[in-house]
């Protein structure tokens, strides 16, 4: 079987199935209600009929007691003349069941010998009739049979059945129609969702689902999906930006490398020059490797997996070490490097990444600040956050560029011509996000103020490795497994 792709595919609708199930359930409930009712009703009618027969029979018996058989025969004959035909069946016989009076031609053949009451089919008034009989034995061996036609209540019974069948049919019809309607309405909306999603799958990420009525289930679902699409569009946009940037930042050194090698192959210069060129080529490759490493590190942070390795750390200590690490380089450039902190603090985080982030901020500041400039690093503990502010009095960043500097491979106008791959601040931003914090930039009048804010977090997995995950483990068995304990 080949499905036509352009036609709306026929699918099993769960909504319609649900509607039909409810209709079937309704019918079942109706039948369950009607069946005992019918049973009780028939029972009551039967009993009432028997009671009437008993009354008749007692009356005839008393006539017989007072006047004997002849009187009863007269009485019956008199009754026969005034009663409506078919209403009551009467028969008086002698001991051998020979009819003496009544409107029944003969003793019913099906009549059981012992039973007091029974149902039998008889020929009555020219029609075969089903009737209930009461058999009374009179003294001196006479038999009296009093009966009533069962069919008398048949129309009522029929009406009951008709009513029941009509109700069932109506329920079934409503269920069927409801199911079809629900299915159609639902299918229309599902179809529109499908169309939108198909368009998205073909690459047009700007499509959005129709929101529908507020608060209804499909509307809420559409809103959620739209939110997800916003996120995906943003990510894809980011990825394509990064690809462009990668194309630029990797292609440039690769192009240089290629032309260098090609020229070497073509011109075959004297040996010393070859060595110089080869060294330059290695430097080109190293540049490419650095970009790759930075990207890999970013990807590693972005996955958020590193959070499992969080330990309790002192951001003041890490920042102080970073400042001491950069102090000789700052002194060489004639830059004054100041460090301020309130004393030891506690936060939960990844010490290696935090160190790298602070290093990158310092590196950045030192790169752009003029000789004889100033860099201040200040760590402060707020209620929920730890703030690390790296401020310099360099050229700063124009306000318009501030949000862009954390984008991958973004290089501001100021940074053109300086070394670096344009990923340093992206890494700081990623580290901040990993620590549920932010990286913001402000004016330092003059210069730049980079503010790295980290959530203090819970010191949940303290001591489960600590610095050990940085240090080289001396022996595998002596090392507590920080990874296992942290997760």
């Amino acid at each position: 079987m080949v499905a036509e792709p352009r036609r709306r595919p026929r699918m099993r609708s769960s909504a319609a199935l649900l509607a039909w199930s409810y209709a079937a359930l309704g019918i079942l409930a109706l039948v369950l209600f009607a069946a005992p009712l019918l049973y009780t009703w028939e029972d009551v009618i039967d009993e009432g009929r028997l009671e009437l027969l008993h009354e008749d029979s007692q009356r005839f018996a008393s006539v017989y007691q007072h006047g004997g058989a002849g009187s009863l025969v007269d009485f019956i004959n008199a009754r026969m003349n005034i009663q409506f035909a078919g209403e009551r069946i009467l028969l008086l016989t002698d001991a051998r069941h020979r009819p003496l009076a009544g409107n029944l031609a003969a003793w019913p053949a099906q009549a059981p010998e012992d039973a007091e009451n029974f149902v039998a089919s008889v020929e009555f008034a020219g029609h075969p009739t089903r009737a209930v009989f009461l058999h009374t034995r009179l003294p001196d061996g006479y038999h009296m049979l009093v009966g009533r036609d069962v069919a008398k209540f048949a129309p009522l019974q029929n009406r009951f059945w008709y009513g029941l069948v009509t109700a069932v049919a109506a329920l079934a019809l409503i269920g069927l129609l409801g199911g079809v309607l629900i299915r159609r309405v639902l299918l229309r909306r599902v179809y529109s969702i499908r169309q939108t999603v198909s368009a998205i799958m073909q690459g047009n990420l700007s499509h959005r689902l129709p929101p529908g009525r507020d608060g209804d289930e499909l509307g809420t679902l559409a809103q959620t999906i739209n939110g997800m699409l916003d996120q995906i569009e943003q990510l894809v946009h980011g990825v394509s930006n990064v690809s462009n940037a990668i194309a630029h930042d990797l292609r440039t050194p690769l192009a240089e490398l290629r032309s260098r090698l090609e020229e070497l192959a073509l011109t075959r210069p004297p040996t010393p020059q070859v060595f110089t060129e080869i060294e330059a080529a290695i430097a080109d490759v190293d540049r490419v490797i650095r970009v790759f490493n930075a990207l890999l590190r970013l990807a590693e942070i972005d996955t958020g997996l590193r959070r499992s390795g969080f330990v309790t750390l002192d951001p003041v200590e890490i920042a102080a070490e970073a400042v001491e690490f950069y102090r000789p380089a700052a002194e060489l450039k004639g830059v004054e490097l100041a460090f301020r902190s309130p004393g030891p603090l506690h936060a939960s985080g990844d010490p290696l990444l935090l160190a790298q982030a602070i290093n990158n901020l310092l590196d950045n500041a030192l790169k752009y600040v003029d000789a004889h400039g100033r860099i201040t690093v200040e760590v402060s503990g707020l209620e929920q956050h730890v703030e690390i502010v790296v401020a310099d009095n360099g050229p700063g960043i124009p306000d318009a560029e501030k949000p862009k500097v954390v984008e991958r491979f973004y290089r501001g106008d100021v940074s053109r011509g300086t070394p670096g791959v344009g990923l340093g601040l992206s890494l700081v931003d990623a580290v901040a996000k990993l620590h549920r914090g932010t990286l913001t930039f402000a004016d330092n009048h003059p210069g730049l103020q980079a503010r790295l804010s980290l959530e203090q977090g819970v010191a949940g997995n303290a001591g489960a490795g600590g610095q050990a995950r940085l240090a080289r483990p001396p022996a595998p068995e002596a090392q507590p497994d920080a990874k296992a304990a942290g997760s």
Binding site: N293, G309, Q356, N360
Partner: protein, 226 residues
């Protein structure tokens, strides 16, 4: 040193084997996990360079774990294209002694291998270090050049201690970053060079013989005979 190289990439192996032989080492090479395991367990080596991902059903980590289980304490340098910090920790925890990410400079590999091989020889329970007339007392944390006392910042002391412990060996910038500062990443500018030049000024005055040499394309070496 007798070195075992377990590495499946033909070109990389050639490059390492050639480089190590030129540096005066004896090299055995296995290009898959099975052969590597066989050689590592049957022969005695001074150091092993082990690639992580290997053909032949046994990967580098499995070989290292097997060796360590049998009590073999040969120094092992893990080579890997996996650069994640977690991968690195996993490699070291399995019993490797050092971890080098591909691609790498040969100088880096040689320097690390030298340090590993030498560490296995010398004990680390010394109370003082000496290189020429430079003397470091590890207990009182005092440094002297001849009769001249040298005052060092704590981090400078650590830097000099590392250099003195590996005197006569090349140490790379990355090795210094990892061992002196505990920084397992590449700072964007060569801050280490500035630390070294500061230290150099402190341990060698104009009139004194220089002790701390820069080795081109590799790193630094502290040596008395230069």
């Amino acid at each position: 040193m007798k070195v075992l190289l377990v590495e499946d990439n033909q070109r990389v192996s050639q490059f390492i084997v050639k480089g190590l032989r030129e540096s005066g080492h004896t090299v055995d090479h296995a290009d898959n996990g099975r052969d590597g395991m066989l050689l590592a367990t049957s022969e005695r080596y001074d150091a092993i360079v082990m690639d992580r991902m290997l053909p032949g059903g046994i990967d580098g980590i499995a070989i290292i774990e097997a060796l360590r289980k049998t009590g073999n304490r040969v120094p092992i340098l893990i080579l890997s294209a996996l650069s994640d910090v977690d991968e690195r920790i996993h490699g070291l925890r399995s019993g490797g002694d050092d971890y080098l990410t591909k691609p790498f400079a040969f100088g880096e590999l040689l320097a690390r291998l030298d340090v590993l091989g030498r560490r296995a020889e010398g004990g680390s329970t010394r109370t003082s270090l000496e290189v020429g007339d430079l003397r470091m007392d590890l207990l009182s944390r005092k440094v002297q050049r001849g009769s001249r006392a040298i005052t060092l910042q704590p981090r400078e002391f650590k830097l000099l201690e590392y250099l003195m412990r590996h005197a006569g060996q090349v140490v790379t910038r990355t090795m210094l970053l990892e061992n002196v500062w505990d920084y397992h990443f590449d700072p964007q500018t060569n801050v280490v060079d500035v630390h070294i030049s500061n230290l150099r000024q402190k341990i060698s005055l104009e009139s004194e013989r220089p002790l701390l040499r820069t080795v081109r394309h590799a790193g630094y070496m502290l040596t008395a005979d230069g």
